[in-house]
Symmetry: C2
Subunit: 333 residues, 2 copies
């Protein structure tokens, strides 16, 4: 038969060249039966894909973008490592963009990416993002996977963790350690992530017949000094015996405030925080944490993005949940 | 005279339109006297630059790239914040790229940037970079500023800190605290940054008549477990009474190893580290640090990059040195 190309395979199989090409790329648009017919014949006839043609057909930038609130956060820096691990295997470059939780910057940047500068996007949305319209459009135009911080209402691939359950367990952990007045440091309140963490706390209190007291809730403000003042005020006026911090950025000011006010951790107050901080075990005292599978979340998100780029099968509306772990240390003993 | 454009200014002044344009942009290619002649006439005739033309002439991507070893390092995350502060004022986006100290990745990525994807580059070079040829070429093709980690031999703009002096002072600080057997955790040994820090340590010992002992030098390896084993071995076999860590990644394993070996900090051993770690003051005990002006370095580097993009005057071979500060805490008391 001479040189075997897609056209010849198509003729033999009575299929269109486009279908043969999709079948060879393991596209989900082609039935399993057809794919097997194509693969069998390709093997039989020693079909070799033309590498330069396959390069032309594939994406050009060999770059993916990771859009996150900030890099100076242990969860995100570990997630990036997970993403880069997968990207390196594919010889892809990873560009990182920080939104600083500013949704205007987020959208402005995404619009610039749509001109082919990157082949795909991994995003953890800004906590100030309320309007999801730009994202419903975006999904139609470029392969995108959401990780950690996502929309509930958009049909997209999401990789996240069990925010409700882990917050419930952290609250339970403090109650078992003897706490009765448990304060909650509330962040990401616009996002489903934040809402689920809050709900876990509220329901654990309820299941243990502890009254919810809104005086014990401090909402995170994007201003370190104000956060610190609010925490100090909580400690002096409300005298909680336990604290759950829903982000690590609020756990550190708790430590500083307790030091300044001569409040002993864990003697006077027990503290647990959502955190992947490497120094958690070296703090004074070592901090109990809800540790998220950050690198695994990044890795999984990247794997699915590459399935999209390869036109392999993926579930377009799937939400994958990877479990967090409670690591008890001295701060809740 | 009707509408005043560059051509008309040029005619009046008996200059070429290109020279007038450069003068209006405060280019260093034009003499001060000529610029003043141009500015004076432009003011007198109420010359208004055509905004869309000025846009076309300027750079298109409105994006700069920051190339760094890694984001999970407090120095670099603060430096990025400094860079972004300046970029935001100019409505520029900042892309971050991690090399993980791999010079092949560094060069491969830089080559991709040369096609107009970004208007300029801020870079802190990888510690495995030995061959500087790609950079001598690069400087001719795209505006670039080096910060923190740079080449000594290349004529470029560098923003850095006083590595020699601050390492000398850190050593002096330990000697004044009573240390006589001071170990040095050596990193960035390929780079001028690392060499200067080492030299500061060596010379401070010499000036205090303390013999340099190579058994007290541990060289950083890109492998956490090996670093940890080497530090533990140093602590048990050499029994130093002081440690200077030239990077924060090695200070934390020192803390863990001391904990494990029941060595009291600062009672048995005093520790100081180059670090911008936010948690330094919350560690057990609080860690003394050589704190670099990270945000200021980033800011200064970005300011000069924008001068280049604006074709304003800058010193093409200037090295700007911003001072680091020794912050003594409990770990060296």
């Amino acid at each position: 038969m001479g040189y075997i190309n897609i056209k010849k395979l198509a003729e033999e199989l009575n299929l269109s060249p486009a279908s043969v090409s999709r079948a060879l790329n393991d596209s989900h648009e082609i039935s399993k039966e057809t794919k097997e017919r194509v693969w069998e014949l390709a093997k039989k006839l020693n079909y070799e894909p033309n590498p330069s043609a396959s390069n032309l057909r594939s994406h050009k930038s060999k770059t993916i973008a990771v859009i996150i609130p900030q890099v100076a956060n242990s969860f995100f820096s570990l997630a990036i490592n997970g993403i880069e691990k997968i990207a390196r295997q594919r010889d892809y470059h990873v560009l990182i963009y920080q939104t600083h939780d500013n949704s205007d910057m987020e959208i402005a940047f995404i619009n610039r990416l749509l001109n082919g500068r990157v082949d795909g996007i991994l995003i953890s949305i800004s906590s100030s993002t309320i309007d999801n319209t730009p994202f419903t459009e975006l999904i139609k135009n470029i392969p995108i996977v959401f990780f950690d911080r996502m929309y509930d209402e958009i049909d997209a691939v999401n990789i996240t963790t069990d925010d409700y359950e882990s917050s419930y367990q952290a609250t339970q952990h403090l109650i078992e350690a003897g706490c009765q007045r448990i304060a909650y440091l509330f962040a990401l309140n616009n996002l489903i992530t934040g809402k689920r963490r809050m709900a876990g706390y509220v329901n654990a209190l309820k299941d243990n017949n502890i009254l919810y007291d809104e005086q014990l809730i401090i909402t995170h403000i994007e201003n370190e000094d104000e956060d610190y003042a609010n925490i100090k005020n909580l400690l002096t006026s409300e005298k909680p015996d336990g604290i759950i911090s829903s982000i690590e950025e609020m756990a550190l000011p708790c430590y500083s405030a307790c030091k300044q006010l001569n409040i002993n951790i864990p003697g006077d107050i027990k503290i647990i925080s959502f955190s992947n901080l490497k120094t958690a075990q070296l703090l004074d005292p070592p901090l109990s944490t809800v540790t998220q599978p950050a690198a695994e979340i990044g890795q999984k998100a990247a794997e699915i993005l590459f399935k999209m780029l390869d036109k392999k099968h993926f579930e377009p509306k799937e939400t994958i949940v990877l479990r967090s772990t409670i690591i008890p240390r001295e701060s809740t003993r």
